[in-house]
């Protein structure tokens, strides 16, 4: 009896050690396949020894870094820098979200890329990129076990037609900070956006994928209809 119990415990310990150990890093995706997928990025990004900034910044050491802060790259969008200041750090989860649809994380990002819709493709390219970051065992937020979120919004959510009258009432809560005339002083303008971008952005706050505590709190209690109503109202301003 006693021996049996012990061996189960030992087995568990072994499994646990394996789980957090280096070998597990492979589970993030297939880096070999990721190297091929990276060709889609290579028109804008370099990675590896001697990588330089091109249209986009080089991607060495991207895991665990604050967004928009690679030395020497001067063309970051205001949105990405703001997201970094708000607390966006490139964890596996956030990278998945950004690569799935860059606008999901950063409205007005300069990364003009439609996104990798296939979860496996993203996992593979990220496994490849991680070879050029520090030893992942040292980066808790880059743990391969982090669950990759499915960020894409369902077509039904995107197709919801908002009630602009309701939107107008809800918007009165936004205009305490975001000015209705679209001027932008320390707080971004939210008027005249394409409705879909607006919906994507609010859902990303609601699900706490985008940083910023104020927006997370406000968006967190908006329903899908309410988000659609706001989008309809602001798009019409």
């Amino acid at each position: 009896m006693k021996i049996g119990v012990l061996s189960v415990a030992a087995g568990f310990l072994l499994a646990a050690a394996h789980w957090v150990g280096y070998a597990a890093a492979d589970e993030i995706g297939d880096a070999e396949s990721g190297e091929k997928i990276f060709r889609k990025c290579a028109s804008c990004h370099q990675v590896g020894k001697g990588a330089e900034h091109r249209i986009g910044p080089h991607l060495n050491g991207i895991f665990g870094r604050k967004a928009g802060t690679v030395d020497g790259y001067e063309r970051y969008s205001e949105g990405l820098v703001r997201a970094g200041n708000d607390g966006l750090v490139w964890s596996l989860e956030k990278l998945h979200a950004y690569l799935e649809n860059p606008k999901y994380l950063v409205s007005g990002t300069r990364m003009n890329f439609a996104g990798l819709k296939d979860q496996q493709d993203r996992a593979d390219v990220l496994a490849y990129l991680r070879r050029f970051s520090d030893n992942p065992a040292n980066i808790p937020e880059a743990q391969p076990t982090a669950v990759a979120p499915e960020v894409e919004l369902s077509p039904e959510i995107l197709a919801l037609v908002g009630d602009p009258e309701y939107g107008e009432y809800l918007a009165s809560e936004c205009t305490t900070c975001h000015q209705r005339d679209g001027s932008d002083q320390g707080i971004p303008s939210i008027t005249g956006w394409p409705e879909e971008d607006f919906v994507i952005a609010l859902h990303a706050y609601k699900r706490k994928i985008r940083p910023h505590p104020v927006m997370q709190a406000y968006a967190g209690r908006l329903t899908e209809e309410e988000i659609a109503a706001l989008a309809a109202y602001f798009a019409g301003l």
């Binding site: 919801l160 809560e173 305490t176 900070c177 005339d181 707080i187 104020v214």
Partner: protein
């Protein structure tokens, strides 16, 4: 859930419509009249939203004695030298010219709830269908022994902005070298929970530039205060050794002042000071008492519509209310005003009524580019306005985030003042 997602809005609105009073004003009655008392964060906002969204269907009168409203928000930044006084002054011209609001510069001195009229100091009598009170705060008599309103020039409160704020700043600027500034902080609940401590920060900022050996004494009846860890971290970092705070464990709740002798006595120990800012305990603006809608020091309201629990034809906003979890802030008053405007329009013109949502964020500046914030979202329950979700800046945040937070507050100031005054 998925099936009736769309239906929800419809049903919600229908249910709300069924709840609202059935009698929508007919043409025979003339345009329904709303009188708003107080042209501050709550009153200016509600007047503007009523006029704007009813598109002329409601006759809105705003009663406010002053022609220039100085926002208390950012008045501490004026003390610190980050804003000039004219940048926090606002007038009512646009509300009158663009929104057709009848702005009357006078004091409301009487309310007859049966006749539904308001009497002004100048003698005019204004009839109303709905009355909104947003008179802010007054001070509780005798709250700080030795101090009353007659002493406000020797020991300013600067808790209603304008000449009081200017006076406090002038006194600080002419303080002797190495002199001592004292603040008597208020007990809960009071207007702007972080306000006194943002003020300490801004006074410290000013003094560290013009009088670096000066000292600051805060006498506080409260054990804890808003954003305490953030303020204390900031004071240590930027103004080391300048600020001393006496809490209730050392007699901060047993304080007396002598404005003639310029002394503050804390638990029997007499302290000589050069400038003294007394912020007494507070209550709803006096007109609420006159209207007879208070319970204790504050006017209780129903969070679904901000209607007074004492009178279905009176709505109360902002600092004067007892509503539940929201702090007394300009942001809160502005947020409540929009809920009230929607509810009043629903009753008077039959427009759609949606479920009340509220929010608040209070930014504070600790030193140049070192901004912090605290805030939450709220919803109405039958019992009170209840907090849903909150957030607060963290100690040890990096300089870029603190700067971004400060810049956010500039955006907010521009946003809320445009939302109030058009």
């Amino acid at each position: 859930m998925k099936l009736n997602r769309r239906a929800f809005i419809g049903t919600g609105a229908a249910a709300a419509a069924a709840l609202q009073a059935p009698n929508v004003w007919g043409a025979a009655h003339g345009r329904p009249k709303v009188v708003v008392i107080g042209g501050g964060a709550g009153g200016a906002t509600v007047a503007r939203y009523l006029a704007k969204d009813s598109k002329g269907e409601i006759d809105v009168t705003l009663v406010e004695p002053t022609r220039q409203y100085y926002t208390c928000f950012f008045s501490n930044l004026y003390i610190g030298g980050f804003r000039d006084l004219s940048s926090i002054a606002h007038s009512y011209g646009t509300l009158a010219s663009e929104y057709g609001i009848n702005v009357v510069h006078d004091w409301a001195t009487g309310i007859d709830r049966d006749a539904k009229t308001v009497t002004l100091a100048g003698g005019a009598v204004l009839p109303y269908d709905k009355l909104v009170l947003s008179p802010g705060i007054d001070f509780v008599d005798g709250a700080v022994p030795g101090w009353d309103l007659n002493a406000q020039n020797k020991m300013p409160h600067a808790y209603k902005a304008g000449s009081q704020t200017e006076l406090l700043k002038a006194q600080l600027e002419s303080m002797p070298e190495g002199g001592r500034f004292a603040m008597v902080a208020p007990p809960n609940p009071y207007r702007c929970p972080p306000g006194p401590y943002e003020r300490v920060s801004m006074v410290a900022h000013l003094l560290s530039q013009i009088n670096p050996t000066a000292k600051i004494l805060v006498v506080d009846p409260k054990e804890k205060f808003s954003k305490q860890a953030l303020f204390e971290e900031g004071w240590n970092r930027h103004y080391a050794g300048m600020v001393e705070r006496i809490g209730p464990d050392f007699g901060g709740d047993k304080v007396e002042v002598d404005p003639g002798a310029m002394t503050v006595t804390v638990d029997g120990v007499v302290e000589k000071v050069d400038v003294c800012n007394v912020i007494p305990a507070q209550k709803a603006g006096r007109i609420c008492e006159i209207a007879g809608i208070n319970d204790g020091n504050w006017a209780p309201v129903d969070g679904h519509s901000m209607v007074s629990r004492m009178d279905a034809n009176i709505h109360v906003l902002g600092d004067a209310t007892n509503q539940g979890d929201m702090p007394k802030s300009g942001f809160s008053a502005n947020s409540q005003a929009k809920v009230a405007a929607m509810a009043i329009r629903g009753e008077l013109t039959g427009s759609k009524v949606f479920p009340a949502k509220f929010s608040n964020t209070c930014w504070s500046l600790i030193d140049t580019d070192d901004g912090v914030k605290v805030g939450a979202s709220y919803q109405a329950t039958d019992e009170k306005i209840a907090k849903v979700d909150g957030f607060i800046s963290q100690t040890g945040e990096d300089a870029a985030l603190r700067k971004a937070t400060y810049e956010e507050s500039l955006g907010w100031y521009a946003g809320i003042t445009a939302d109030m005054f058009g």
